[in-house]
Subunit: 330 residues, 2 copies
């Protein structure tokens, strides 16, 4: 072992002082698979909880190529002008496969990467989505305790991770490009309806007209959607991350949102629902893990799945057979 493990007390003390090195070590323990590390991490989270919660948690999604990193760079600089601190996290369950497509390349956030008030942390390495999401949510608690009053959580908009992000942020921002064709190929259905704001990037130069057209189209499309739970009407704006245009307007919208949901009580209610959600989500994930990691269950599932797919056995009796084995065996 290179370094002795710090105690949870030392970590908490450092985190509360805003010590970035200690915060990083604590996040590493949160992400670790070792039981010893997890035990310390859980103590640290518990002790940081009373100091957490005081931030704006913002989910940012968009397909690769939408310009997420450049945008996060300018968005981050914009909000840090007024002081405060910013943590940029990511959820990408596939990061091991794709060699860290998200935030792997900090150079794309060149200015934020060297900013003293910004903490950038790539996605925890691959694991189940539930596991990766849980770690990110725990990291939010630590960052908040360390005084980060703005949290960005980034995803790629192509998988299931958006639902996970949506369940841990206050505001969900979707970055789109002008055009109704190929640019949208990558995004997943259902994501548009989660957005509290849609922002169209690359509204610059020759592209301004197309971006304005897309804005009008998205606006009228959103009118057809059912109302949001918060009562907020999602807005559609144009901006250019590269040329730093329209950034203030995007953040005025986000400010308006926070004022709106804090006034009508939705902010607090949603945070409570999210805490409850994560408790039950964790339970359900662990129940599944315990079942699916049983070697005999794994073997039986393959056999049963084949029977189901060849229409020899119904989905329900196949499930029952595997469950019978599992529950009698223990």
């Amino acid at each position: 072992r290179r370094k002795p493990l710090p105690t949870s007390g030392e970590l908490v003390e450092g985190i509360l002082k805003g010590d970035v090195t200690i915060l990083s070590r604590a996040v590493t323990l949160v992400e670790s698979l070792s039981h010893e590390h997890q035990a310390i991490a859980q103590e640290v989270i518990e002790k940081c909880l009373p100091y957490s919660g005081n931030s704006r948690r913002i989910g940012i999604t968009g397909v690769p190529g939408a310009g997420k990193s450049t945008s996060i760079d300018v968005f981050g600089l914009h909000i840090l002008k007024d002081g405060g601190k910013l943590a940029v996290l990511a959820i990408d369950p596939s990061s091991e496969r794709t060699k860290g497509s998200i935030l792997g390349d900090k150079t794309r956030m060149e200015r934020l990467a060297v900013h003293p008030s910004a903490f950038i942390r790539p996605s925890p390495s691959a694991g189940s989505l539930g596991g990766v999401a849980r770690k990110t949510r725990e990291t939010i608690v630590l960052c908040e305790a360390a005084g980060y009053n703005n949290i960005f959580v980034e995803t790629v908009g192509v998988g299931q991770s958006e639902t996970a992000v949506h369940s841990m942020v206050d505001f969900f921002l979707l970055i789109q490009l002008a055009g109704t064709g190929d640019e949208l190929q990558g995004i997943k259905r259902g994501i548009m309806e989660m957005a509290d704001g849609i922002v169209i990037n690359k509204a610059d130069g020759d592209n301004v007209d197309r971006a304005r057209l897309a804005q009008a189209q998205f606006r009228s499309a959103l009118h057809l959607f059912p109302p949001t739970m918060s009562g907020w009407i999602p807005e559609v704006l144009c901006y250019s991350g590269y040329y730093d245009l329209g950034i203030a307007e995007v953040w005025e919208m986000i400010d308006r949102y926070f004022k709106f949901v804090k006034d009508n009580g939705y902010f607090e209610r949603k945070r409570q629902e999210q805490a409850r959600y994560w408790m039950y989500e964790t339970i359900n994930e662990q129940l599944r893990n315990h079942f699916y990691s049983n070697p005999e269950v794994e073997r039986l599932l393959i056999e049963k799945e084949n029977r189901v797919l060849s229409n020899v056995q119904s989905s329900f009796t196949a499930a029952r057979d595997v469950l019978d084995y599992y529950f009698t065996q223990k």
Copy 2:
């Protein structure tokens, strides 16, 4: 006991002959909570499986007031003109609470209710969504074995049941009304993006212009959505259930869809995915049931939930504590 229980062999024989009384009895056993009834039901389903699958399974959703029952009545008559048989099922986990809002009132399908080739079955009475959905899916197998080559599954479009329906049908039809305001209040976000077809009802009389406008709006909105998994481009049509206008066009669209997905292989692939989905969904539901129905777990959950909501304990250690109790206790 009023009647002796039939054997599974007797039931299967009757079902395969298309005997409606016997089909009804078998469905009642599928819906029963009694272990004895379930044992027979599962045998019947297993024996019917090889005779199932040969139908078009169509999900139909829309908020109360959209005119679902009237529409199903005319849709049903339209397809039965060419022969064949139609089963109309429903998923409404709230049916006990709302006293059977769906299909409870067969009189709204007045012509279908007395049609010799139609079998109408209300939603199984209340239970967990998973349970209700599972029973509906099992009923589909029995209906198909009884020769019903068209299956409608109805829902109200306001809860989570649409995801369940979506996972058991080939085509998902959303009934909408003209207008962008109050009429949509009831529908849930995310449902529009599930639809393979959107049909605007009450396009008659004074309302035709508004319906056409809504059609144009939905069409352009759908262009902004990401492509569907099937490659099919969802269509938007106007019709009038009450005045029997545009019904043929709706079914020509549905016919086109089935030709399209059968040609490109998506039909078969989706059916297989659905069978697999239901196997795992059943397993996960039973794992959860086993856990949450444990009295001491129930008590602990209430206690832990309060600690989580008052920010005294993290969602994750709260979950861990309850799981520790559950797994050591057994």
